[in-house]
């Protein structure tokens, strides 16, 4: 294998919108308005699904877009957290943020050995190995019926929130409680990516051999990114379990891992913003298909995936940024 094989030649543009610029402020303001207004226009549980999948996609993007690692087994962390959150909430009746925290810790704890083994392989091997380990967890959960409920899953996960009745019973208000945590998750992701640590990750993505030659312990950086990413996936999965009131084997299924990668690619990898946008498209589309009684969602989502990968690799946000970026650069040159 040559050195090139280790480098991910993903089609990525550098961001052109500078931090602190008016455009950036406008963008953040716009996103906040959309997120706050969402449950007025979309059925609140569906809006909540968009939050969860959006955050889940952001966690995948930290690895795929910023570290050059395609994890095809992120359902493991989403699902492990969903189960742990559910078990803690059912057994102790603690408020949901505490239960979700337990889920996050479980997800990160599982990510340490899996990541440690997986980062030994790069590129396409990494995708296959993470997928295989996620499947192992799936079989494990399927066998451990006493705790996970096997094929029935965990039912009746309570939605405790410090005795605030509105949040606990009304999914409209619950959305806003969840939104706070999802935004915290997104801010953590943003902070990670825009830190010196995040720059090292990008250096590793673009040229691992050079990063190693500069004295960075590449494997340790990858592992750290992997565990952080798993923690965010855990946050998303835990919130998802609380919102639905159950956790099932589907949360650990390989299709869940694939779906989140689809969302990430559709939104645009290496952008973070793409995650929530892709999530909104996929979740709303699936909701529409489900309510219209169409069977075979995979025919639609599979086709979208094929088309996106063939023709539209920058994704929605990546394409917008590409053309906006070209426009901005042209204007800067003009002045």
């Amino acid at each position: 294998m040559s050195l090139e094989a280790e480098t991910a030649h993903l089609q990525l543009d550098e961001p052109v919108i500078k931090r602190g610029s008016w455009l950036n402020r406008l963008r953040i303001l716009g996103a906040l308005i959309v997120l706050l207004a969402l449950p007025w226009y979309v059925y609140p549980p569906v809006a909540f699904d968009i939050l969860c999948w959006g955050l889940f996609a952001i966690s995948v993007d930290i690895l795929l877009g910023y570290t050059g690692l395609l994890s095809f087994g992120h359902a493991a962390y989403w699902g492990a957290s969903a189960y742990t959150t559910g078990i803690v909430a059912i057994k102790t009746g603690l408020p949901f943020p505490v239960a979700v925290l337990a889920g996050i810790i479980m997800a990160m704890a599982i990510a340490v050995p899996v990541g440690w083994l997986s980062v030994r392989r790069t590129g396409i091997y990494f995708a296959m190995v993470t997928l295989a380990f996620a499947q192992m967890l799936y079989f494990f959960a399927n066998q451990w019926r006493d705790v996970t409920g096997g094929e029935n899953g965990l039912q009746g996960i309570p939605r405790g929130f410090f005795g605030v009745g509105l949040v606990e019973t009304d999914s409209f208000y619950f959305y806003y409680a969840g939104l706070a945590f999802a935004v915290i998750g997104a801010l953590i992701a943003w902070r990670v990516v825009n830190s010196p640590f995040g720059r090292v990750l990008v250096a590793i993505r673009d040229n691992p051999a050079r990063a190693r030659a500069l004295g960075y312990n590449v494997d340790r950086y990858k592992l750290t990114a992997f565990v952080i990413s798993a923690g965010l996936a855990g946050l998303a999965g835990g919130l998802f379990a609380i919102s639905h009131g159950f956790a099932s084997l589907q949360e650990l299924d390989w299709r869940t891992s694939g779906k989140v990668v689809l969302i990430t690619v559709l939104g645009g990898i290496g952008t973070l913003w793409g995650g929530p946008i892709g999530a909104a498209i996929v979740v709303l589309l699936e909701d529409r298909l489900a309510t219209s009684g169409f069977e075979g969602t995979g025919i639609i989502t599979g086709s979208i995936f094929v088309v996106v990968v063939l023709l539209f690799r920058r994704g929605v946000w990546g394409t917008a940024r590409h053309y906006l970026g070209a426009e901005l650069l042209a204007r800067r040159r003009r002045y």
Binding site: M128, F139, F140, G302, V309
Partner: protein
Amino acid sequence: MGNFLQYTLQGLAAGGFYALAALGLAIIFGVLGVVNFSHGACYMLGAVASAVLLAEFNLGFWPALLIVPILLFVFGVLMERLLVRWLLPLDPLYNFLLTFGLTLLLVDLVKKKYGVSGLPYEIPAGLDGRIGTGDISLSVYQLFACLFSLAVCLGVWALLTKTRIGMIVRAATEDADRTSALGINVRRWVTPVFGFGIALAGLAGVLRAPNGAITPEMGGSFIIILFAVVVIGGLGSILGAVVAGFLVGLVEAYGQAYAPAYAQIVIFILMALVILVRPAGLFGREEAA
């Protein structure tokens, strides 16, 4: 002792399916650098196609063994020409994702057409008996599946080592750029090799068809175990794919016999051990890092 032999044969039969399909995966990866996620779906298509041939055209197992791989070869050629080809110059991850999308598409198309419950298929006449005496009694079908896949693997091995085409394919697997530099048109072989790899997955599907229900979902866990197989064997290695295929089949069968709860988990533990001790796989070469 009789039981142990039976488990061994069962493992070798299942290993044969893995070995055949993994061989196809390894050849495609070697020449095109593509990890075909839809390999499990193609295996499923092979099994479904044999069931459809039986139900609608009254063509049994033996004709299917010939017809289905040809159909899958054509399917593979179309897939390469229409889709995979465009992404070959890019990062292999894109083709991995493309074939994943194709998997979702194929599985749900088959589900829509033939339902989720599964299609019936019976062990063909001549293979339905058992042989052996007293304590030792083996299924003829399993014996056949095991020997047939072994024979096909040997045939492919002979094709690769004894013929000019095989030499080109091996050279391209080794280093596609340098092979082109020697004046060999590697691109010409890309499409047939892809079709051939898909045909092997289809052949594994036909062989597997008499062995229990044929469902659209049967490729799902198959492809993941197949990934474990090629990680264990070393993805670049054709011998590795075959040996690891039979090895995983055996491990799975012994697991099912002696620790049924952990049968499938054992495979992944084996994979973890291989990554730990030999990250490049049992027969893979170390990557330059």
